[in-house]
């Protein structure tokens, strides 16, 4: 029976090795949520449009509803549960960028991947980047602001790390 054809899927999720059986047709989003109990990743359309289920697969953003669990076997995954205290997440709270919170995980995952590629983006670039995800509550205003503020903050931290002497000379910032 094709339905019952399952594989053991082993992944490294948020730095931890996790393994569970998955029918071969099971979506990665369902595997993460219902096999591994990582329900912070949300599913809004199952058609790859809304972006709520975005995760990092080997560091790159992917729609987990467009991947099968078996495709992720042996790979490294980061979900929203692995983003605690991340500057982007904190910035979302500070900027009132969250309302119902259903799309938030996907947006945080998209935004963190984007800022890794483009650490000092223009507002226009941020708008383009977060246009990978649908939000029905916020009108995107505070999401764009949150990503901009997180970029500025992470940039400042990077500068401090890059030149500790200079920052010490300037004093606490």
């Amino acid at each position: 029976m094709v339905l019952e054809d399952s594989r053991a899927v082993r992944v490294v999720v948020n730095g931890e090795v996790r393994e569970a059986d998955a029918p071969v047709r099971m979506l990665l989003s369902d595997f993460l949520r219902h096999r591994l109990g990582l329900t912070g990743t949300h599913v809004g359309c199952e058609q790859g449009v809304c972006g709520s289920c975005t995760i990092h697969l080997n560091g790159d953003p992917h729609r987990s509803c467009l991947l099968l669990a078996v495709q992720a076997h042996g790979e490294e995954i980061t979900t929203i549960e692995g983003m605690r205290e991340h500057p982007v997440a904190l910035s979302f709270a500070r900027c009132h960028a969250i309302q119902c919170g259903f799309c938030t995980a996907g947006l945080v995952m998209s935004a963190t991947a984007f800022l890794r590629e483009e650490p000092a983006p223009s507002r226009q670039a941020i708008v383009g980047a977060v246009s990978s995800n649908l939000c029905r509550c916020t009108g995107y205003q505070n999401i764009v602001r949150a990503v901009a503020e997180a970029a500025a903050e992470m940039g400042a931290q990077a500068d401090e790390r890059a030149s500790p002497d200079t920052s010490a000379a300037v004093g606490p910032g």
Partner: protein, 814 residues
């Protein structure tokens, strides 16, 4: 009440759980042994069911049960409730839990499959065979009104309701008017589409209780209704709304069939059962709104002042009308908006079509009314050659005219009466914000470069905070935490944060020490529900009152301890003390301990409240027998009349005449929701509503074909805007407090979406110098408008696109 937190943009208490991925949404709830539901839905828009064959599905792997209407017994012969009857609704129709004999829209539930996994349930649902005798589908409000075909073949009409209202003498007004103008308008069908679809999980507990998690905006009402439908005592059913991923009205209806079927199946099977919609299903199984056709006649003076207005409109109810005629009633009563119309007549026809049923979606009839009224104002301005802003000024209700009687029936059955407002002040602020004074020069300069830009306005009055009531219980725990429970449900509006702000202010405690629990009938039984922008007003007032009662009680206990007058007891930083002696203070949590006379000293703090404490002062502490134990109070707020928020939107757009693309260059909103509890939350609500309104003006259109098939049932084809479609929105506020509640607040939830379409479409009209009478616009339509007045009329004027009574295709059909 000292005010430290009300009015402050404090961070949201909801965010931490969300950001940790620890929110609990409906699909996150999966008890051990949970069974899963997939629905079999009608593929036929209008037909008689000849045969349902569930035999192959029942034999499919993993299937536990398949139910059709015949398997439901008496429950299967009982219609879903008509929630709000009205004498004008002469032909009410509501659906069965599972289609019985007939189907009336594509997506109507026909059978329910229960299986060990959702995957297995979906497989088996595909095996259920349903044969239909198909009848011609009735699609589109105008078509339904004039067609000989019937959406319900047992009826001899498609008209469910006909309701005529008049305030003032319209006939006399038109006789006295120097100018009269008539136009037809069309607003097409749309849908709320929260990013989380609907769901329900029912768990029969070992105790015999039934615990139902439901992504509902009204869990208390679901509980009462479930008890009725399932024949179970009310105390045996509890309903909890977990975290809900957006509602906007679509999760309000009591009931969708699955909300009864899933608990019914869970009881029958003795196992937890879960249903969660998928996205394609959501488009055909969760309700829509908006489609209305209007014909307006307006009489006015040479200076632009309106003397009389008559609006005849056809409202598309879809296949059933569980909410009665509430949406068109809201349209009728809210259409005049901020304008003084001495004589106003409204005639509505509510028609059935073979499409998804229509129930309130954010704005609930208001966006349609505002679109029509604002177009009318622009048409008057165009006719007279007067600036559009000036015509608005000349018609505003003046600040000294409140309370102002609009006159038609409001959604709560009262006569629509505005409580307060200052429309001119907000509008002048808007004009400044958008740069109205310099716009003619800006427009001329752009035109010299070959760029077509335009400016548009949309004003609105939003009915908020209607009754009947909400309530709350506040309990100061001996831990010092202040636990607030209220029956309202929350879908992202930051209710927990704003209610915490109210409580923290009254009791002088830290915001973090206030914990708000919503939408859980185990905690609080009594509630109306979350709709009509009513939570800040109604639940907010109840919470404020309960907090004051708790404070009174605490003051009495503290007064006995301090041997002082209750009036002298002060509350600050989580402590109580006597005014003038701030150094001698006891924590509020100690007062909570003392409010509960105890038999057992389980902790050192509890020792102070036991009956046998020798200490003279402490022995006095336990309250007298007529006082209930615990530092706790319950209060309700039942406003007799709604509060009316208001505001205005302005947009500056650039139109690409070749492609029909519309770019919004600037967007401003001035909003007035009375006293703001949390300005950042208010702005967030306005932002989100505005984006939905812009979507409604340019992108979002539910497209049915003539056979009643929904052609764009997914997010690829139903275009919810991404960030790339939404401009920066500048939000400013005016505050005219409501006289109707102690906080002075009005609601804000729906405001943003009401007037975005008139502002954006007014701006396109201005950019192209043509007349536009329908919404939404597609790039093809805009390009047609730009191509010239002939083409423009064809795209812009609804009447020119086929006229009254002709068969409708997909462009206007829905």
């Amino acid at each position: 009440m000292t005010t430290r937190l009300i009015g402050a943009s404090v961070p949201r208490s909801e965010d931490r759980r969300i950001l940790d991925g620890a929110g609990v949404f409906i699909d996150d709830i999966e008890p051990a042994g949970c069974l899963h539901v997939a629905m079999v839905r009608s593929t036929c828009a209008n037909g008689r069911i000849r045969r349902v064959d569930a035999t192959p599905a029942r034999a499919a792997p993993g299937v536990v049960a398949v139910y059709t209407a015949d398997d439901l017994g008496e429950l299967g012969r009982r219609n879903l409730p008509l929630l709000i009857p009205n004498p004008a609704l002469t032909e009410p129709r509501t659906q069965f839990l599972l289609a019985f004999e007939y189907v009336h829209f594509v997506g109507e539930a026909v059978a329910m499959v229960v299986a060990e996994s959702r995957y297995a349930a979906e497989d088996a649902a595909g095996l259920v065979e349903v044969d239909y005798t198909e009848f011609p589908a009735v699609v589109g409000p105008l078509n339904a009104f004039h067609s000989k075909e019937r959406a319900h073949v047992d009826m001899n009409t498609n008209v469910a309701a006909h309701f005529v209202q008049e305030h003032g003498d319209t006939e006399a007004a038109f006789e006295g008017a120097t100018r009269v103008l008539e136009r037809e308008f069309m607003v097409e069908r749309s849908a709320a589409t929260p990013i989380e679809c609907r769901g329900v999980v029912a768990i029969p507990e070992q105790t015999g209780q039934l615990l139902v998690y439901d992504s509902s905006q009204a869990p208390s009402t679901i509980r009462a209704g479930l008890s009725t439908y399932l024949g179970v005592a009310e105390h045996e059913v509890e309903v909890v709304a977990p975290d809900v991923g957006g509602g906007f009205g679509v999760k309000l209806p009591v009931f969708y069939p699955e909300e009864i079927l899933v608990p019914w199946a869970a009881r029958r099977l003795g196992a937890p059962v879960k249903f969660v919609e998928d996205r394609s299903e959501h488009f055909v199984a969760s309700n829509h709104e908006r489609a209305q056709w209007h014909r307006v006649k307006v009489g006015y003076e040479e200076d632009g002042r309106i003397c009389g207005l008559v609006d005849e409109f056809i409202h598309d109810a879809g296949a059933y009308c569980p909410y009665g005629i509430i949406i068109p009633i809201v349209t009728a009563s809210r259409l005049p908006g901020p304008y003084k119309i001495p004589a106003y007549g409204s005639e509505m026809h509510v028609v059935y079509t073979n499409t998804v049923p229509v129930t309130p979606y954010r704005g609930a009839g208001m966006p349609q009314g505002a679109f029509v009224m604002e177009r009318v104002i622009d048409l008057i301005a165009r006719d007279l050659g007067v600036d559009r802003a000036e015509v608005r000024r000349r018609n505003f209700i003046a600040p000294d005219e409140f309370p102002y009687v609009v006159g038609l029936m409001d959604e709560d059955g009262t006569t629509t009466t505005y409580d307060s407002g200052d429309y001119p002040r907000g509008f002048e602020k808007l004009l400044e914000s958008i740069g109205h004074a310099g716009f003619p020069a800006e427009q001329a300069a752009a035109l010299a470069e070959g760029r077509r830009i335009g400016i548009g306005f949309g004003c609105y009055v939003e009915g908020t905070g209607c009754g009947p009531y909400e309530g709350a219980r506040i309990h100061v725990e001996t831990t010092g935490k202040v636990f607030v429970s209220t029956g309202i449900a929350t879908q992202g509006q930051s209710h927990c944060t704003i209610l915490s702000q109210i409580v923290a202010d009254v009791l002088g405690v830290a915001l973090d020490d206030v914990v708000v629990k919503t939408g859980d009938t185990r905690q609080f039984k009594w509630a109306t529900g979350t709709f009509a922008s009513r939570i800040a007003v109604v639940a907010g007032s109840a919470v404020a009152e309960a907090a004051l009662l708790v404070k009174e009680k605490a003051a009495e206990i503290a007064a006995r301890i301090f041997e002082a007058s209750t009036a002298d007891v002060a509350f600050e930083d989580g402590d109580v003390f006597v005014k003038g002696s701030p150094d001698v203070r006891i924590p509020l949590r100690q007062v909570a301990v003392l409010a509960n006379p105890l038999r057992y000293a389980f902790s050192s703090e509890a020792l102070a409240a036991t009956q046998f404490v020798g200490d003279g002062e402490r022995a006095k502490a336990p309250p007298p027998s007529e006082v209930a134990p615990g530092l706790e109070a319950t209060a309700y707020a039942s406003p007799e009349f709604a509060t009316f928020a208001s505001g205005a939107h302005a947009a500056v757009v650039e139109v690409d005449v070749e492609t029909g693309a519309v770019r919004i260059l600037r967007y401003s909103v001035v909003h007035d929701c009375g006293r703001m509890i949390n300005p950042a939350v208010v702005e967030g609500q306005v932002h989100g509503g505005t984006a939905q309104g812009i979507g409604g003006a340019l992108y979002e259109r539910i497209c049915y074909d003539e056979e009643g098939q929904l052609k764009n049932a997914n997010f690829m084809d139903f275009l919810v805007p991404y960030a790339s479609e939404i401009p920066e929105i500048c939000v400013e506020h005016t505050e005219t407090p409501s006289p109707l509640n102690p906080l002075g607040v009005k609601g804000v939830g729906e405001a943003g979406c009401i007037s975005a379409a008139p502002a954006v479409i007014g701006a396109i009209e201005d950019a192209l110098g043509v007349e536009i009478t329908s919404s939404p616009l597609s790039p093809e339509m805009v390009a047609g408008l730009a191509a010239g007045s002939a083409g423009g009329e064809a795209a812009g004027s609804f009447a020119a696109r086929g006229g009254v009574g002709q068969s409708r295709g997909e462009t206007d059909g829905a």
